[in-house]
């Protein structure tokens, strides 16, 4: 029987029959049961190298446990997982992996520079390389001025930033980010987005676990919707957000004739005072609609295509009960 994740992948037309070496992550029927309680039912997933992949699902859907299984922190009860073409948790493969845990905690008696040095040494990095890399990373995450400050004096956002820096120390091929923007202010979130983009350009694969759908929407190439520890669907984000678009027009001089006129491109047309809403099957017809309205004398103040947000799609797929 085909797994949910498998069929969705195939329909998305992205990663069917990828050779194993081209996959950063491949899992088949991964399952985890804690004391009789199923945390992850059956996770089947393929993430090609170089992709920014989002893990979406309600709280308790098994996202973090799935990540931990891929990292070798948690032993699967059943199923298989390969990470960078090696069994998940393989010690040598960890040299190529970066990980930011959900609640990044580390020895708070260390300074941020010491923390990075210690992690670098655990990665087996040379002192010379670390001497170059540490100031570079502290600068990248905006903590250059706090190199000598102890982590116990850090705010939650600062801890998140230093955690991110340690996840990038070894120029990893695969980076796991578990809720990287939690605790960050808007500037911090922007920073995370920029870092993820830079990693994409470097050719790294990023697995992003986030409940902030807008973050995922901006950064990810593909997403997997997870519910009850199972991949309900994996979708290309572009295709997910394409298609039916609702447009809101705010204009003076709108008439019922105009509303009837736009029906040749649009459906669900509704006119109320100075506002016209309509739904088009594709964004390509929008310039024609706009040109038509202007030519008929409408004075347009606002013409806003309302894309179906990931959130709506998320609720549609996962269900408004949040999968509980």
């Amino acid at each position: 029987m085909m797994q949910a994740g498998e069929s969705a992948s195939t329909t998305a037309g992205q990663i069917a029959a990828q050779p194993a070496a081209d996959l950063a992550i491949a899992t088949r029927g991964l399952r985890k049961v804690f004391d009789g309680k199923v945390a992850v039912r059956s996770l089947t997933l393929e993430v090609p190298r170089g992709e920014i992949f989002g893990f979406l699902g309600p709280n308790g859907a098994g996202k973090s446990t799935s990540l931990k299984m891929l990292l070798g922190l948690v032993r699967p009860t059943r199923g298989q997982a390969t990470v960078l073409a090696c069994p998940a948790g393989d010690v040598r493969t960890r040299r190529k992996i970066g990980f930011l845990p959900e609640h990044f905690r580390f020895y708070d008696w260390l300074t941020s520079a010491e923390l990075l040095r210690l992690h670098g040494r655990l990665y087996g990095m040379s002192r010379d390389r670390l001497r170059r890399k540490i100031p570079e990373l502290l600068d990248l995450v905006g903590l250059a001025e706090h190199a000598g400050k102890r982590l116990r004096d850090f705010s939650k956002g600062m801890l998140q930033r230093i955690g991110l820096a340690q996840a990038l120390l070894n120029d990893p091929e695969l980076i796991f980010l578990d809720e990287p923007t939690s605790g960050l202010d808007p500037a911090g979130r922007r920073l995370v987005r920029d870092i993820i983009k830079a990693q994409r350009q470097r050719g790294a694969t990023v697995l992003l676990n986030s409940h902030l759908l807008s973050e995922v929407e901006i950064t990810c190439d593909r997403v997997a919707f997870i519910k009850h520890g199972e991949v309900i669907e994996t979708r290309d984000l572009k295709s997910l957000l394409e298609g039916q678009t609702t447009v809101r027009v705010h204009a003076a001089n709108l008439t019922p004739e105009m509303a009837a006129g736009v029906e040749r491109w649009a459906s669900s047309v509704a006119l109320q005072d100075h506002q016209l809403t309509l739904s088009v099957p594709s964004r390509e017809v929008l310039p024609q609609v706009l040109r038509y309205l202007v030519s008929r004398g409408a004075e347009i103040y606002e013409f806003t295509p309302q894309r179906l947000s990931l959130e709506e799609r998320f609720l549609e797929i996962v269900g408004s009960d949040g999968g509980l």
């Binding site: 990292l71 922190l73 010690v91 990980f99 959900e102 990044f104 580390f106 260390l110 992690h119």
Partner: protein, 276 residues
Amino acid sequence: MGIWIMAGVTFREAARKKILWMALAAGLAFLALFGTGLHYQMKDLAARGMKPILLKQIPGAMLMVGLYAIDLLTVVMTVLVSVDTLSGEIASGTIQAVATKPLPRWQIVLGKWMGFAAMMTAYLGLLVGGINAITYGMARVTAHNVPQGFALMWLEGVLLLSVTFFFGTKYSTLTNGVLALGLVGLAFLGGWIEQIGAATNTTSAVNVGIVASILMPSEALWRRAANAMQSPLAGMLNISPFSSASLPSFTMVAYAGVYAALALFFAVRRFSRRDL
């Protein structure tokens, strides 16, 4: 390599958190107290014109009491300092960032263990060395066989360290502490029951003590250490509380060594297999 990094971190953590310095200060205070007590004792005995042979026995007895206190202090300090290292880091998630680095999990456990073992060795060395130096300086008396006594006390520290690590891979910090110190208390009581039983020829009481030693052989190690360190005269005359009417056998020492090794082995194994 990972082992040394983890051992170094453990040591640095103790230093940074001032645990090391506090333990050192407490140790020095202990020695100062002992030295002061011995000083007045010697002064008083000399003033009374005590016979030289007895003049040696009294500081010798004080030395044994001091060594017993050191033994208990070392065991309790070892448990307290290391009790949170695995369970605490597992509970807080701190371990996750380390356990996903390219080092096998056994290196995390052994590295930490080595860091604590090094601290315990230094602490014990300072106190045993210090107390002997003081009694020698004031009364020209030292423990009879210091290296053997030290080795046995060291093994006791290692035993408790390994047991604490073993419990730390499964239980919470508090439960771990209760279990480890509970076993020490059991061994302590069992040891004295055995001693008294032997002195009064009560076989059942001796057996109770042996069973306690099998459950936790820490007190048995101390009694072997005391036997090695006290003056042969005091041992023969049965005038000291450490005369060891029922001296634990060498097999018990070997058993304690195997016990410590197995505790550490199973700590490593359980930590390597458990979910973090």
